[in-house]
C-alpha cells in the first residue's frame, strides 16, 4: 500500500540538481561528448541498444551519459524513449548469411571456407591493465593492418556448408505469413513459442542470461555445447512501406550471431542428430549471443521431448525474470514509502507479542497453582 506524502517536492528538485552536479563531476575536466561515448565506449553502447531494444548508437550513448554509465538505468531511459515514437513498419527478417562479416569463428570446424577470422576480439589479450591508455597524451591513432584482399562478400553459415551428412538439425521456416509474437504489444503468454522466447532473451538482462547459460553446462541442464559459429558484422535492414509497394533498404545494422551446436538426440524412429540453439544481439554482443543460444536450446526441451528439470529449462521462470527493467522496477520499489504498510505490520507484531506475554504469564500462574 502506498500513501501520498506531500512535502517532498523541494527535496526531489534538489536531488535532481545534486545528480546533475555529480554527473558532471569535476568541471575542471572536459565534459564527455556523446560522440566520444559512441566511439570509445562502443561495447557499453551495444549492450544498452540490445537490452533497451532500440538500435540507435547516439541515443544509447546519450542514455549512458545521462545515467552516469549505469547500463540498466540507461536501458530504462531507452525503453521509455521508444514509447514516444510511432512504429512505421516491421522489417523483413534480416539475412545474416549476407552479413558483411568482420569476425567469424567456429569452434566445431577448423577449416571453414573463408577461414577463421578473429576480428576485433579480447579473446587473445592477456587481461593486463594497459597503463598506456592512462598516460597523458593518450594513445594517438592506432591503426589496424590491412590485408590485400577483402573477405568474401557473403559467408554462408558454417553449419550449412560443412554438415553434408545432415548430422546437425536444420532450421526451417514453416510458419511463413503467420503473426510473430511481439512482447512490446502483448504480455508474456505460456506455453511460449520460440518467437516469444527468442525476443525475450534478446532483450533479457545479460547477467541473468549468462548465469542461466552457465548453469546449463554445470549439470543444471545437461548441455554439451560447441560453438558452430559466432559472427559479427553489418546486415541490411529492409522494409516495404505501404505507400511504395516495394521493399527498400533503410540502412545497415551491426549484429552478433551465435549458432550453438548442442547435445544430440535420437529415437527409435529418428537417427541421432545434434540439436541447435540460437543467439543474436545488436552490435558486438558475443557473450550475450552465446548465452542466449544456450538458454534458447535449454528452453526447447519440451519440443525435443526432454524433461524440464532445471531453472534454465523452465520457460515460465526464465521469461518472467529475464527483463531487467521489470526486475529493477519490482526489486527497487521496496525503497519507496511503505509507511502505512509497515505501521500495520508493527501493530500486528505488537499484538502477537502481547498475546504471547499474556499466554506465558497465564501458563506460569497455572504451573505455580499446580505445584
Amino acid at each position: 500500500m502506498y500513501v501520498a506524502v506531500k512535502g517532498g517536492e523541494r527535496a526531489i528538485l534538489n536531488s535532481h540538481k545534486l545528480v546533475a552536479e555529480e554527473r558532471r563531476g569535476d568541471p575542471a575536466l572536459a565534459e564527455l561528448d556523446v560522440r566520444q561515448i559512441v566511439e570509445q565506449f562502443r561495447l557499453a553502447v551495444d549492450r544498452v541498444m540490445t537490452e533497451g531494444s532500440v538500435y540507435d548508437p547516439e541515443l544509447a550513448a546519450l542514455a549512458l551519459k545521462q545515467a552516469q554509465g549505469d547500463a540498466v538505468e540507461a536501458i530504462f531511459l531507452l525503453r521509455a524513449y521508444r514509447t514516444t515514437l510511432p512504429r512505421f513498419a516491421v522489417s523483413r527478417p534480416i539475412e545474416t548469411r549476407r552479413m558483411a562479416v568482420r569476425r567469424r569463428v567456429s569452434a566445431a570446424y577448423k577449416d571453414v571456407p573463408g577461414g577463421q577470422v578473429l576480428g576485433p576480439t579480447y579473446d587473445y589479450t592477456h587481461r593486463l591493465l594497459d597503463f598506456a591508455l592512462a598516460a597523458e597524451g593518450g594513445v594517438g591513432a592506432p591503426e589496424a593492418d590491412l590485408a590485400e584482399e577483402t573477405l568474401p562478400d557473403a559467408m554462408p553459415p558454417v553449419l550449412d556448408i560443412l554438415d553434408g551428412e545432415n548430422l546437425i538439425e536444420r532450421e526451417f521456416a514453416d510458419r511463413e505469413g503467420e503473426s510473430v509474437f511481439d512482447l512490446t504489444r502483448e504480455s508474456l503468454s505460456f506455453p511460449a513459442g520460440r518467437d516469444q522466447r527468442l525476443q525475450n532473451l534478446a532483450r533479457g538482462d545479460e547477467g541473468f542470461v549468462l548465469g542461466l547459460a552457465y548453469s546449463t553446462t554445470r549439470g543444471y541442464g545437461g548441455s554439451h555445447p560447441f560453438v558452430g559459429e559466432v559472427r559479427l558484422g553489418e546486415t541490411a535492414v529492409e522494409i516495404t512501406p505501404e505507400e511504395l509497394g516495394f521493399s527498400i533498404e533503410i540502412g545497415d545494422i551491426t549484429v552478433t550471431e551465435c549458432q550453438m551446436i548442442n547435445q544430440f538426440k535420437g529415437t527409435a524412429e529418428k537417427p541421432a542428430q545434434f540439436t541447435r540453439g540460437y543467439g543474436l544481439s545488436f552490435g558486438h554482443g558475443e557473450r550475450k549471443a552465446m548465452s542466449m543460444a544456450l538458454v534458447d536450446r535449454a528452453m526447447r526441451c519440451r519440443e525435443l521431448g526432454e524433461d524440464a528439470l532445471y531453472p534454465a529449462q523452465d520457460e515460465e521462470f526464465v521469461l518472467s525474470h529475464s527483463d531487467n527493467i521489470e526486475a529493477v522496477g519490482f526489486v527497487t520499489h521496496f525503497k519507496l514509502p511503505h509507511y502505512v504498510d509497515f505501521q500495520a505490520e508493527l501493530e500486528l507484531v505488537r499484538r502477537l507479542r502481547a498475546e504471547h506475554a499474556t499466554r506465558v504469564g497465564r501458563d506460569g500462574e497455572l504451573r505455580e497453582a499446580a505445584e
Binding site: I94, L151, I239
Partner: protein, 160 residues
C-alpha cells in the same frame, strides 16, 4: 485495387529505384549536403509528409533460416515531398536526422525525373555508392588481416 503504379512509362524501373534509395539511405548527412549544394539548380519542393522520426521493428530468423522473431527496434526517419513538377520523392533513412531524410527524398524525386536522372545518378548516387563500397572494403580488409593461417594448413587446400 484502384491504386496504380507510381512508376509510369519512361520512368526508372523498380530495381533501379530500390538501389538508389538504398544508397541514399546509407549516405551521411555531410555527403548529402555536399551533393545538394553542388546541384546546379535546386528544385522547389513542398512536404507531403514532413520529416518524421519513428521505429522499425527488426525481425530475424531462429537459427538464421528458421521462423521469424522480433529482435528489437531501430530508429528511422521518413519524409515525402513533391517537386513543382508533381514528382513525389520518398526518404526512409536509419537514425533520427530529419535533414538526411529530406535530402534523400529530394534526390529520389530528382532521380524519378527523366530530365535530371542521369546527372544525379552519375554525380550523386554513383559517387555515394563508390564511397560506401570503399568503406565496406576497408573494414573487410582490416578483418581479413585477422584471419588465422594455421601451420598445418597447406595454402592450396584452402581455396578462397
Amino acid at each position: 485495387m484502384t491504386a496504380q503504379a507510381a512508376i509510369k512509362d519512361g520512368d526508372a524501373g523498380i530495381a533501379d529505384r530500390r538501389r538508389w534509395m538504398g544508397v541514399l539511405a546509407r549516405a551521411g548527412r555531410e555527403e548529402l549536403e555536399e551533393a545538394w549544394t553542388a546541384l546546379p539548380s535546386k528544385p522547389a519542393h513542398r512536404f507531403m509528409r514532413a520529416p518524421e522520426i519513428g521505429l522499425v521493428m527488426v525481425q530475424a530468423r531462429a537459427g538464421g533460416s528458421g521462423n521469424p522473431f522480433n529482435l528489437g527496434e531501430m530508429t528511422v526517419t521518413r519524409c515525402a515531398l513533391r517537386l513543382d513538377s508533381g514528382v513525389v520523392g520518398f526518404g526512409y533513412v536509419q537514425g533520427r536526422d530529419k535533414r538526411r531524410a529530406e535530402l534523400a527524398a529530394a534526390f529520389d524525386a530528382l532521380l524519378q525525373t527523366p530530365e535530371t536522372r542521369d546527372e544525379v545518378l552519375r554525380g550523386v548516387v554513383e559517387k555515394l555508392a563508390a564511397a560506401q563500397a570503399e568503406r565496406r572494403a576497408l573494414r573487410s580488409r582490416k578483418a581479413a588481416s585477422t584471419k588465422v593461417e594455421f601451420f598445418t594448413m597447406v595454402r592450396g587446400d584452402n581455396p578462397r
